[in-house]
């Protein structure tokens, strides 16, 4: 017994915390990558995540596209949508203050959410995830048998979300920190003019980076489609927390934002058990403390 609750309950809450952290990680990763290359705070990230969930629903409803194909196709479609936004709108703002990119992408959120609400209402759409993910497994937490409190219920779909997010995060980290393409990205984040003068097509790199960041949000949207009702505002609710996660972790480090995301998911879960009333604000309290003591974030580099 910890916090006066059975071990099985505690384990399940921590597990759900990790699964929330998985969403924070996928979304904060995209935000951090986009901010690094474009200097744009992509407020539309939540709306793009929501579009990912809607696209998954539409794909199944009208085209018969299965969940598995959606995992592949929806990020591609969202990525192309991102590329269009970057080429048409964002590229005019790079020399201006961050505020302009924030305002433009905020405007996009209002337009996208408005259109989706108009088309599908705001009550939420159900999505049938593959039968494979239905139900849950029971996991023995100790050697004792027969005692119901020593079993943890592991919802299969939530487990899949954690596994998929961890794989994608590691793959993204590897690409950015360990490959030639990643070294272009890191160098162009520091000094785009010089990287371009070496013969690298930096504007193309920027466009693809935005597309990739939006594709990550789209992938998170597909995962969310199988978990919750799909509503036009599902992204806005989540993205505010994700912004706080990014502020806490700092923009400087890919690994930092991944670790921060999962850690904060766990912190939320523990708060939910220890003092449920605070579970919705604990991340923002931590954000304030971090801003006061380390303004660049836990893993960020001081400017």
């Amino acid at each position: 017994m910890v916090f006066d609750v059975p071990l099985s309950f505690l384990a399940l809450q921590l597990f759900i915390g990790l699964q929330n952290g998985a969403f924070y990680a996928l979304l904060s990763l995209g935000l951090a990558v986009i901010f690094g290359m474009l200097n744009v705070i992509n407020f539309a990230h939540g709306a793009q995540y929501m579009l990912g969930a809607f696209a998954t629903w539409l794909g199944l409803e009208y085209l018969g596209i299965s969940y598995w194909w959606s995992l592949l196709l929806v990020p591609i479609v969202l990525g192309l949508f991102g590329i269009l936004i970057e080429r048409a709108l964002l590229r005019w703002l790079y020399d201006l203050d961050h505020l302009y990119g924030l305002l433009l992408t905020f405007g996009l959120v209002l337009i996208i959410e408005g259109l989706v609400t108009d088309g599908f209402g705001s009550s939420g759409l159900p999505y049938d995830k593959p039968a494979l993910f239905a139900g849950s497994e029971r996991l023995a937490l100790s050697g004792l048998t027969g005692n119901e409190r020593d079993f943890m219920v592991v919802p299969i779909y939530r487990l899949w979300i954690i596994v998929a997010a961890v794989i994608l995060c590691i793959a993204t980290w590897y690409m950015i920190e360990r490959t030639r393409l990643g070294s272009y990205l890191r160098a162009a984040t520091e000094n785009p003019a010089l990287v371009r003068a070496f013969g690298v097509n930096v504007p193309l790199l920027i466009t693809l980076t935005y597309g990739f960041g939006v594709a990550l949000a789209g992938f998170a949207g597909v995962l969310a489609a199988g978990l919750q009702a799909i509503t036009p505002h599902m992204g806005s609710n989540l993205i505010i927390v994700v912004f706080a996660v990014v502020v806490i972790g700092g923009m400087g480090s890919i690994l930092g934002s991944i670790i921060t995301s999962f850690a904060l998911g766990l912190v939320e879960a523990i708060t939910r058990i220890a003092y449920p009333e605070a579970s919705n604000i604990v991340i923002f309290v931590i954000m304030i403390l971090v801003l006061l003591t380390r303004p660049a974030g836990l893993f960020g580099r001081e400017a």
Binding site: R180, S183, Y184, R186, A187, T189, E190, N191, A193, L194, V195, R196, A197, F198, G199, V200, N201, V202
Partner: protein, 255 residues
């Protein structure tokens, strides 16, 4: 000392004669350049022939760095004519200009702190054949071989960073090098090493346009020296005229 001048001067004349038939590697005519509202270059004319080592001398703010940055395309607003390896580049973006076979080493060295020494070395893409191999680079720059495992490029000393900044553009196969003050802020012994390296590069046939404040360093290496003032070329001094024009040069450069 006069003896050592003769072969270089002769080489320079050969290059001059060749210029009648072969187009210069860099030909700048009437170059105007602006940073926002400020007009920096007011009609720069200069020519660099294949295999030549030419310097741009002048005081701080004379427009030397802006001239190099204009040639590589890092200055947004430029007018006039810049021909690089036979192609007009005044309207090209810097990534296209670099691909013609020209590379730039910035004054602030531009070593990336989020890249390791090795990643910094491999960063500039190969743009042509015949680049210097990494093994040869480590022979030219033994310090870099020792420090190749360093996780952060900017952890190197100033001299090592300068060597890395030169080494990485030699790998790419670019035959024309724009070097902006490679000796700035370095200890005399390192300045000497860099001088030796530039001499070796010239022997290997690289065409080099070098910006320098260090007049003695530059004049000892170059075949011709352009003198800049207030965004214009005001004089061109061949190596064999240095002695005669020294007093005049000192006055221009304020040394």
């Amino acid at each position: 000392m006069p003896n050592s001048d003769i072969p270089i001067a002769a080489g320079s004349e050969a290059a001059m004669r060749a210029s009648a038939t072969v187009e210069p590697v860099i030909q700048v005519e009437g170059l105007q350049a602006y940073y926002g509202e400020s007009h920096i270059l007011h009609g720069v004319d200069l020519t660099v022939h294949e295999g030549e080592l030419v310097t741009l001398l002048g005081r701080n703010g004379a427009g030397k760095t802006t001239t190099l940055k204009s040639i590589i395309g890092m200055v947004g607003q430029r007018a006039g004519s810049i021909r690089v390896l036979g192609q007009e580049t005044v309207n090209l973006k810097s990534n296209r200009i670099a691909r013609l076979g020209i590379a730039y080493c910035p004054e602030e060295r531009g070593i990336f702190s989020s890249l390791s020494v090795e990643e910094n070395l491999y960063l500039p893409p190969v743009i042509g054949e015949g680049g210097v191999s990494v093994e040869e680079l480590f022979e030219l720059f033994p310090n870099l071989k020792e420090r190749r495992g360093t996780k952060q490029g900017t952890r190197l000393s100033g001299g090592e960073q300068q060597m890395l900044a030169i080494a990485r553009i030699l790998r790419t196969g670019a035959k024309v090098l724009l070097l902006d003050e490679p000796t700035e802020g370095l200890a005399p012994v390192i300045v000497q090493q860099i001088g030796n390296i530039i001499r070796k590069l010239k022997e290997r046939g690289f065409t080099i346009l070098l910006v320098e404040q260090n007049f003695r360093f530059a004049a000892g290496l170059a075949e011709r020296n352009y003198v800049m003032e207030d965004g214009r070329i005001v004089d061109m001094v061949r190596h064999d005229e240095l002695a005669a024009k020294e007093a005049q040069l000192q006055e221009f450069l304020g040394v």
